[in-house]
Symmetry: C2
């Protein structure tokens, strides 16, 4: 993995979660970085979400460090804001940054007081541990119910040199589209202004994190941050900026897919493609309705080519379409043509559905040009096991 | 159970489902009955839904018989309409009714051709079996993944005599509010005109079936029918009509609760009360968001007083409210006050949450008068087991 220049990383165990594995992580940029972020649209927002938003505003879209803890969401607690402020302040002092250059993020249980002192006590060894190669340690430290760390990277060759992009993310439940969704941090060493970066992030999230759904729930803490510290010295021109955006989007798509693949209890990554809808928005609604249907997701878990549930889920999307013009394909096999059963070998398709990747396509025949792609996962007994006993 | 006068019932095994238990049922009224119905709002609608709607229109809101089959939804098939028409026609001939007086309803798998001949061959013995006391047989015959038959009844004493109401329903998955939801048949012997009956049904469904959510999915076949055959000879006056409506609503509430209690894999009935919302609609959105949250439902399955998930689900409802004014109670125990953790004994509450009925209350303090009640069930591994192998 060729990491972008000018960033360093650290992780340590601060005693926030019960089992002794890293629960505090730091991403620092040697140069002040342009910064953009999207946050949860939940009415209930965690203290670090509110503070990060405020810091970004006050700093004019600049940042120097991201401080992340796992094991406690720092949400719906008496001391939430004070904890977020005091820990950022303490870190800012260590790194010689204005406090507004520190972006906090938290993930974990809601409604339990977070002890700021534990974080503050851990900061000296966290900062001392900063290293350009400890990227993966951060990816591991921010995991909660995740089974695997999730990272992705890219390099873009431009006229005046190469710029690099690297991202890490966490999340495996409480994943829902149209939200910033989970924690995600994407870093580049390109030179990009805060204004351009913000627009780039919004478009990239729209095509990646916002096309992801695990269980239709949305956390109080969802945050995706994009930093550009300019350490490559390469400032993309207008055309090149589109190439960079394309790569940032691809990195984010890859992170979003990794989340779906690691969905709580998931055994399969499900990709849903809709085409021929009356508009792009209609296609998104159809894809999301299929992605969110527990009946579709349990059928996939059981390798059951139950296309009736897919058609029925689409019918619930609140979108006008003619079911008699709808085709459904599973793993490339036409299972429904014009709203009716197509003839296919159920046995062979069942075998294909046993694979770890499942493709569902809904094609509406006609003049519609709207298309959309969504990622989700199957819904298994494992999801229930994990979520019926998360706290206990 | 004191059944309304003038109805008779029958059930038989027609060979539609594989295991040999009744799969064809008939409700017949000796007198032509006023009839009203609500149907699924899914874009994909089964043939019997379309035909019932057409029959009601053509008959001017009158009906004489309801023909129900389980095991096959008669939806998304080539011959769907022909099957529905020919079976209704055949029954109409037996009962000496116009075909428009027969309302068909089906439940079961989608996309598999339904053999009309099986039903037509079974009709002679079905009609021969009609009996005023075979109400429960119908309730059993229409079950699919249901574990128990679901019935409810009431008697209302009016000035000129008593009228009776009885209802039966099926459904345990694919249950979602704002839809006619599942199959439900409610019968009364009161004298009520089709116009008044229609208005009564719509209001009653709004307060019963539409406050129910099991998994957020909606079937292609959902149907609730209300018949009033006037066999009691009692015509309620205006004030009395409200009493009858109250009882019809109570019967439907009881049926809706029975569905939630029997939700696929469910071990617990969950009642969600929201008060203090800015409007009735806002309260419904909040209650529904809590009822549909897989994270809330799995927490209930695990008897975990994880109120953070309740607050977070409310935050996702798309409704404006101040989380700092939100209280949450579980089993009557305040677990969250003003958006913050209340102090309570987690151990004692866990024990209370082990009960088969769970009450969740969200109270928003302030001037809001909007309130709503929803029913749902916990989400268990059993739901997955049932739905990962429904067809196979």
């Amino acid at each position: 993995m060729r990491l972008p220049h000018g960033y360093s990383y650290a992780a340590t165990y601060a005693g926030i979660r019960q089992d002794e594995k890293d629960d505090l992580a730091l991403i620092a940029s040697g140069l002040p970085a342009s910064a953009a972020a999207v946050f949860t649209q939940n009415r209930v927002q965690a203290a670090p979400v509110k503070l990060s938003r405020r810091h970004l505003k006050r700093s004019g879209g600049m940042a120097g460090a991201i401080l992340i803890n796992a094991g406690n969401a720092n949400c719906a607690t008496r001391t939430g804001e004070a904890v977020a402020v005091s820990t950022c302040k303490s870190l800012a002092r260590f790194l010689l940054l204005p406090i507004t250059f520190v972006l906090p993020a938290s993930t974990g249980v809601i409604g339990v007081e977070l002890d700021a002192q534990k974080i503050i006590d851990a900061l000296p060894r966290l900062v001392a541990g900063l290293h350009a190669r400890r990227f993966d340690d951060v990816a591991c430290a921010i995991m909660t119910t995740d089974l695997v760390p999730k990272t992705a990277s890219a390099e873009v060759k431009l006229r005046r040199g190469a710029v690099r992009i690297a991202g890490l993310t966490k999340g495996s439940g409480m994943i829902h589209p149209q939200m910033a969704t989970t924690l995600g941090f994407v870093l580049t060493d390109a030179v990009i202004s805060p204004t351009l970066l913000r627009a780039m992030l919004h478009r990239a999230v729209e095509r990646s994190y916002n096309c992801l759904s695990v269980d239709g729930d949305t956390s109080t803490n969802d945050t995706v941050v994009l930093l550009a510290n300019g350490a490559s010295g390469v400032k993309p021109d207008r055309t090149e900026l589109m190439k960079v955006e394309e790569s940032v989007t691809r990195v984010m798509e890859s992170l979003a897919q990794a989340i779906a693949r690691d969905g709580e209890g998931a055994k399969k990554l499900v990709t849903i493609d809709v085409s021929g809808a009356s508009s792009g928005e209609a296609a998104v609604l159809l894809a999301r309705a299929i992605a969110n249907s527990p009946l579709v997701k349990t059928a996939i878990a059981g390798s059951d080519p139950n296309w009736g549930r897919i058609l029925s889920a689409a019918g619930n999307a609140g979108v006008v379409f003619d079911p008699a013009k709808a085709d459904v394909l599973m793993q490339g096999v036409p299972v429904c043509r014009g709203g009716l059963a197509a003839s296919f070998s159920e046995e062979e398709l069942k075998k294909k559905l046993d694979r770890p990747e499942c493709a569902i396509r809904l094609v509406i025949r006609g003049k519609g040009k709207g298309s959309a792609r969504f990622w989700t996962c199957d819904l298994t007994e494992g999801y229930i096991r994990i979520n019926a006993s998360y706290r206990t």
